[in-house]
Symmetry: D2
Subunit: 242 residues, 4 copies
């Protein structure tokens, strides 16, 4: 069983008619609808929940956190972002979607600005598979086609990904490293670019497949914070850690 | 000309007789003494300076920042650490020495805990060269020998270095990725493990050579913060960035 | 089920009394003895078999190839080495043990000389875990202790590993990146340093655990050679590949 | 001074009228024309020269080798390809252009098939800068525009580049990791995709700038083959290497 916590900012859907038309119950609900199955158990949290719905205890019982945010990144307290960062370092998997490239938890895990170039003109997008054997692209042919997405372009200020799984290519001209895999501490992190709030991206079967694969891939097999132990000589009697 | 700012916490030297005996004018002074030459212009800052001696303006005029800290990492305000992080992302080089592995600027740039295993028993250390052709190891034979150092051991919770230049091996048994090179945003970062405050490490000629090489290597050839521009179609008339 | 093919040069054991005393039926037999279980089905091949016991057909039915060689690397024909390389690129997992760092298949997959520094004086070795959460180190505490091994030292001329899992540290002074993970094409490759023919290394429970974990980790979930297809426009009618 | 050897297959230009119209004296001549300056000294070699114009002695006196080949990769003997590989491992820089992705020296250095997807329909290409601060992109704005190029697409079967500098995006839909930087042994390798023989790509000023920058960047500061030395104990008297 994989316990997934879907965190959605859930602001656009309450304030913007166009967004509500696409995701009437919130993006988190659309993600939950296709993710939940016999293996994956889903719960959700949003910005307006107390403490953003995030506590150390809740994260300790979460295998994979999915994060979507956009207009209110700064309303997430640093304390909450650091809780997420530390849970990832201890082994929790994390999937950051679309504009979560600029969320505090993602930026704090990357250490960079995560800036990129953007344009909201509804370009179509081709998402090309770079590593056909990777479990996250299982079930995807060579390319995912999206009729409309927000355009994101390079330079995308991220550390060189441990593994680049997708490059996105927009009809207006731009390209983006659109599927980026990282290992940080004992946790795995996947960034996946599609999912602008005004387009029905999360109803696309291929996008759903990638997110479902990603959840399985980043789910931990080990969960423990690696500490900073004071130790004795390895050759001395036990215990090694003082 | 390379403008180097040496930041030293400068606490141990004022409070611990043993440390003062080794570095009577502070570790920053020992570093400045061997670094300053016709090419490298050095200035210094310490924790007790106003705002830690760090302002955005000063960093804008700094090519390479060297950081040494240990007992007072938490006294460096987050604001100062973020200034350093952003200066690195805009191109400033950074060299983090010894216990600066746990400094806020280094941790915020890495995104990880930077925890490691440690023991203060004065083990001797061999620092083995991993990449003999790298400019940072120029002038070093196969190995640097240090009579006494604080023992640091793995697991060292850092992102996989872009390039691993040294592995340290301690007489008591431990090993550490001791020379780690990163590129983040437009800046280069070098972590170098030797330099415990109670040992005369920074008087060692090989250690001095590595730090001098590192300053030259991480000095920027480009200095600009990569932003998050809103753009029009690449095929439209100029300007591209709105 | 994972189909493992253990390839052993099997020369030392037939010509050197000291080696026969340790591995009377060959290193491949010792490896097969602890690997075979309900999940892992083992077969073996040696240098003296026709065509080294390697054919394209046999590799196509192999999930993971383990390779041990030392004194007769040059007797393996290039054609055999290229068969192995191509099977890995198509997804077959590979585990290269000890002196197989200099085998043709490993060198051809790495693209480098794979040279390293060495000394046969029976140093003891500590193998330190670098990434405690990686499945290949599951069941290993912080360190594996070996009473005697051939000493291997840096510089080890390999591409920077995708993931460094172990650093070996020898009592005589040297260190080595001793557990190195790579992805090449659709296949995974693990190099693991312990296993000199005159020492009973492959009877060590921790070494056995690592090799067993590695077999499981590099076993493929996808098996296909990525080709060089001539394609039509993505927007044209099917098929895309001409 | 940087001594550059430009190797061009030089077959298309002699047999195909369309290619001769673009490069009447061969692609090597077009490259030599813009590269030669006060700092860079150029010589050339072609497939029809004795031993392909490649000897160990000549490579020893070459700082950077540029390679262009396409229709006759298999006519380059393995011995020549291995000479090139070993020269790179000893520190010689190498720049592989366009269809040299499939040349023996490049494939042997990468260890992979270097397969990719292709189509010769004269798509236009946008080459996007990924790392704006890298010396190889100095003088390039955000993007290089080419009116016509051969289309190359992913999956491109290469090891994950140490640094990805360009992504190419073709009007027909495909994308490619088009500027890929590697370090192998003591040498630096740059692959750069533009340059189909029927298009005037090497007269484009931006393409020329990138190639000139690349020559300077991969030129060695250290030149020596790292060997496989038998050593005594580091603590014994000198010499360490036996």
């Amino acid at each position: 069983m994989i316990r997934v916590l879907i965190w959605n900012e859930y602001q656009h859907e309450k304030t913007d008619e166009r967004v509500r038309a696409v995701y009437p119950d919130g993006i988190h609900k659309a993600l939950a609808d296709f993710l939940g199955d016999e293996e994956i158990v889903v719960s959700t949290a949003t910005l307006d929940d107390p403490n953003c719905g995030i506590t150390a205890e809740r994260l300790a019982e979460t295998d994979v956190l999915i994060w979507w945010g956009h207009m209110a990144h700064q309303k997430v307290p640093d304390e909450v972002a650091f809780l997420v960062r530390d849970a990832v370092l201890s082994g929790m998997g994390a999937v950051f979607l679309h504009s979560a490239h600029h969320s505090k938890p993602f930026r704090y895990l990357m250490g960079t600005s995560c800036n990129l170039t953007w344009r909201e003109t509804g370009d179509s997008e081709l998402l090309w598979v770079i590593e056909p054997s990777h479990p996250i692209v299982a079930g995807i042919d060579r390319v995912i086609k999206l009729e409309a997405e927000e355009t994101y372009g390079e330079p995308f200020v991220i550390p060189t990904p441990d593994k680049l799984l997708f490059i996105g290519r927009f009809s207006g001209g731009e390209v983006l490293r659109a599927g980026c895999l990282y290992e940080r501490g004992n946790g795995k992190i996947f960034y996946f670019q599609p999912g602008h709030e005004t387009f029905p991206t999360y109803y696309n079967k291929d996008v759903q497949t990638v997110i479902r694969n990603a959840v399985r891939f980043v789910a931990p097999t080990y969960r423990q914070m690696t500490g900073c132990p004071h130790v004795r000589f390895i050759t001395d009697e036990e215990p090694y850690v003082l």
